[in-house]
């Protein structure tokens, strides 16, 4: 048995230790906001927070989350950064197909938490691992800057 704390709730799961967090969250717990894109930490669609830090859940086994807190897109709006990012995303109409955006929002929220006023280089560094095939990069950049300029609620 593995106990996973996801979005503040403990889940006791009968799953192998080496199962990536992605599949535990999607297929076992049933939270489908976190997306599968590549399975090899190449696209960022599966980004979740582990104790507030962004990780690629498709390659991080559930054993690495023992005793730690997982936050997914479904709950990121409960954090000040997550809320600001979501609002900026909607204000600037960032989203197109939306499939990568869970990961983008998670990566951007983590960036703003560690770097409240990111430079373009900071944004490049934090976001280059998150692929968007619809090409929303210019708006993601603008939305991160807009979110950074919003005073914490």
């Amino acid at each position: 048995m593995v106990t996973l704390n996801v979005n503040g709730k403990d889940h006791a799961l009968d799953i192998p230790d080496d199962m990536p967090i992605l599949w535990a969250v999607r297929d076992v717990i049933g939270l489908t906001g976190t997306k599968f894109g590549c399975g090899k930490a190449l696209c960022g669609a599966c980004t979740v927070h582990l104790d507030g830090n962004p990780i690629r859940s498709c390659v991080t086994p559930v054993s690495a989350a023992a005793g730690k807190k997982i936050t997914t897109i479904e709950a990121i709006g409960d954090t000040p950064e997550g809320r600001k990012v979501q609002q900026a995303w909607l204000a600037l109409e960032v989203v197109q197909c939306g499939y990568c955006q869970s990961g983008q929002v998670m990566a951007a929220s983590a960036l703003l938490k560690s770097t409240p006023n990111p430079t373009d280089q900071d944004i490049d560094q934090a976001m280059a691992g998150n692929i968007c095939r619809c090409g929303t990069y210019p708006r993601i950049r603008a939305a991160i800057k807009q979110a950074a300029n919003v005073k914490a609620a």
Binding site: A24, G39, C97, G98, I123, M127, T136, R141
Partner: protein, 740 residues
């Protein structure tokens, strides 16, 4: 005849509804009025009810004036969207068309995805229920506004009758009807039941564009709130009770078949439920994707590679080259267009130029891997999927299950990037074939590797362009010989006449230049093993790279500025000239740039829209970087301007990946690329600054999903030439390809 209020709508364009047998009454369920496209007239219960007997205050039936609109007595307006949302914004722009004419608040409508039904929901341009080809707004523009206007006039009529006041004295706004003189108001919901009993008018009148309150304004997208908080459901998110998860391995050699599989190790993995064999693939069914993946890796599979076992990309390119050079062929290919006399002019000219260009096979690589959830039962088949072609998915399932269409339910979902890949149903048919062998529902999810290596790829094209030039260096004769696979021959063979694939020559058939002596030919050469299909920008994307590179080469030969050279030749297309001039002005065309940087441009008319782009690039030793793209677009009437801008931005970025990085190659019968490490796509740190400028007018709306992609590759190639003096004629543009 009912007319729109004159004071509100002067000089209205009149709409003849008979054109498409639009809005013909059929029997309604429960006395309501249901109307659909192309259905025969049937007098239903509404005739017996008698329209005038009920009062709208007590009427409880819904108002369903056509296949797109439903008004419930409680006032809820439900709009059925016949196009799938894959990022292009149709879940907002199509409701805008209805809401505009119906005078309702866009934010308060409920949206529903249409079921599979070609009779009600076929795209008028494409002939079936397809989301593709940048047609959504072009096709919906008239019928969806008509649907909204029809609903409004019936609701308005119901209220005016109830109040016993002239129709002309009533107005509509925000889902309410008002009578100014008496101060009476009533909601659409309250008159829905009465409106449902009214006869259908033969004509409706549409708003004069000057009275638009939604069309042309930046509406907030309706699908996006659920896409920033994880609530949006894509096909891969489908959850069905008792569902299992499967993942698949198809023959790694293209076209190969399954010989045998030893699944003993796989079956011992906890969570693995079953192993399903198909003719050309094996699926492992499990409690979750992790067990399915582990199970698949533990299978010992023997494949029969078949005839493609030693296939190499060099063989395919060699065959294309041979076909293009017409070796061993009696006929030069199919003539797509012939104007004047190209051959004679070319042969007699002192100045001639020829060049060949090549573009590779491409994967669409949408971020949501192929997936499909299916439950086959004796009396029905349910399919949960994101598809651009619900009726094709239904037809495939009919063949496999032997069930009739009405027993096959396509539950369409948001698509995590279509780009043409979900115009095919191979992965849906495969999932149905797997589910047929299982007594429970199954979600089949491809790994990224499976997705990339068993794709349906944009064809490799090998094109030869030839021009004769006058003494000033302008082209006086032009030929374009397209050689490559015919997507339409597989996908929609009825549109291929006399061997001519109209998509393969789209954009080539009507170049902006040298129109007096023009010869456009198509040579079909199918690559062994590879199935070819649609990719954002379709035929136009490849042809624009060729044409706009070639004209740039001619400008250089003529020692003329590429902008001035083009402008001097396109007086006959003023809208093209205007976008080109605008893009050049906004980009600062002619201004100085640092060393190793250059500007290049392109201009096109495609998908009903005019687009010009100026790209600024920096050429390094190993890499080309696009720093800035300025785009000017005239797509006629703009429905949602922010969506037009977003589609240009996204199309440009998609096109840059194709121009700089992407290619699918084959070695020993296997696709060499497998994931985003070896199929590189543009990332945040590589994305240029993009500026989009719209030219606004009231012309018919053009498509915007694909033109941005088509325009950018030639602009980049021309910018590389401007920066270095080296011309690259093959995509992707890598510095090692620079010719001296």
């Amino acid at each position: 005849m009912m007319t729109r209020l004159e004071t509100e709508l002067p000089a209205l364009p009149e709409t003849g509804l008979a054109r498409r047998e639009f809005l013909i009454a059929t029997a309604g369920v429960g006395g309501g009025l249901v109307l659909g496209f192309l259905l025969p007239r049937v007098m239903g219960p509404q005739a017996k009810h008698g329209a005038e007997t009920s009062t709208f205050r007590t009427e409880s039936r819904p108002f369903v004036p056509n296949a797109f609109i439903r008004v419930d007595p409680d006032g809820l307006v439900t709009l059925t969207v016949h196009k799938v949302e894959m990022g292009q914004g149709t879940f907002t722009s199509i409701p805008m068309l209805v809401a505009e004419e119906m005078d309702i608040d866009l934010a308060k409508v409920k949206l529903e995805q249409a079921p599979a039904d070609d009779k009600k929901y076929a795209d008028p341009i494409l002939g079936s229920q397809v989301t593709g080809g940048s047609t959504s707004i072009r096709g919906a523009w008239k019928p969806l506004r008509e649907a909204g206007a029809m609903a409004r006039i019936l609701l308005l009529t119901a209220a005016s009758k109830q109040w016993n006041v002239p129709l002309e004295e009533c107005t509509t706004s925000g889902g309410m009807i008002s009578h100014g003189k008496s101060g009476k108001t009533v909601s659409y919901g309250e008159v829905a039941g009465a409106a449902a009993l009214l006869p259908i008018p033969q004509k409706v009148q549409l708003k004069d564009p000057q009275h638009y309150r939604l069309i042309g304004t930046p509406a907030k997208r309706l699908d996006t709130p659920s896409k920033v908080n994880g609530q949006a459901k894509f096909g891969i998110d489908a959850q069905v009770p008792n569902m299992k998860i499967a993942t698949v391995a198809a023959s790694p050699i293209l076209g190969g078949k399954l010989t045998s599989v030893d699944d003993s190790k796989a079956r011992s993995i906890k969570g693995v439920v079953q192993v399903v064999k198909l003719e050309d693939a094996v699926a492992v069914v499990a409690d979750h994707m992790w067990a399915a993946k582990q199970g698949l890796a533990a299978l010992d599979i023997k494949w029969d590679g078949g005839r493609n076992a030693s296939l190499d990309i060099k063989d395919i390119v060699g065959q294309l080259q041979e076909a293009s050079n017409n070796q061993g062929r009696a006929a030069p290919g199919v003539v797509a267009r012939s104007v004047g006399d190209f051959r004679k002019t070319f042969e007699q000219s002192k100045h001639r130029f020829e060049a060949t260009y090549q573009v590779p096979f491409l994967s669409q690589a949408g971020l949501e891997p192929m997936n499909c959830t299916v439950h086959v039962q004796p009396d029905r088949c349910d399919i949960w999927v994101g598809t651009q072609v619900p009726t094709l998915a239904q037809a495939g399932a009919m063949t496999l299950t032997k069930l009739p269409a009405e027993k096959i339910f396509i539950h369409n979902h948001y698509i995590g990037g279509g780009f043409g890949r979900r115009l095919d149903v191979d992965f849906i048919n495969q999932a149905v074939a797997i589910a047929k062998q299982l007594p429970y529902p199954v979600k089949v999810v491809w790994t990224r590797e499976e997705d990339m290596q068993h794709g349906i790829y944009r064809p490799y094209y090998y094109d030869k362009l030839s021009a004769a030039l006058d003494d000033q260096g302008k082209p006086i004769a032009w030929s374009h010989r397209v050689t490559g696979s015919s997507v339409m021959s597989r996908w929609v063979p009825q549109m291929v006449e006399n061997g001519l694939d109209p998509d393969a020559v789209e954009g080539a058939r009507d170049p902006l230049y040298a129109r007096d002596n023009l010869l456009v030919e198509y040579i079909r050469q199918e690559p062994p093993g590879i199935v070819t299909g649609w990719w954002r920008g379709v035929g136009v994307t490849h042809n624009m790279f060729m044409i706009e590179s070639f004209i740039d080469e001619l400008a250089h030969l003529a020692k003329q500025d590429p902008l001035a050279y083009r402008l001097s030749q396109i007086d006959h297309v003023p809208r093209a000239k205007a976008v080109l001039q605008l893009a050049a002005d906004k980009a600062g065309w002619g201004g100085a740039l640092p060393q190793n940087q250059g500007r290049g441009l392109s201009v096109q008319f495609a998908f009903g829209s005019y687009v010009a782009q100026v790209a600024e690039v920096e050429v390094g030793k190993d890499d080309i970087r696009v720093k800035r793209v300025v785009c000017a677009v005239d797509c006629g009437t703009v429905v949602n301007p922010d969506t037009v801008v977003a589609q240009m931005e996204g199309g440009i970025i998609f096109g840059i990946s194709g121009a700089l990085y992407d290619q699918i190659t084959v070695k020993q019968g296997r696709v060499e690329q497998s994931n985003f490490d070896n199929y590189r796509v543009l990332r945040m740190n590589e994305a240029p600054v993009i500026e989009v400028h719209l030219i606004r007018n009231n012309e018919a709306p053009g498509g915007v999903g694909e033109p941005g992609t088509a325009a950018v590759a030639p602009a980049i190639a021309n910018a590389v030439f401007a920066a270095t003096g080296k011309r690259i004629r093959t995509l992707p543009l890598v510095p090692s390809l620079m010719q001296t």
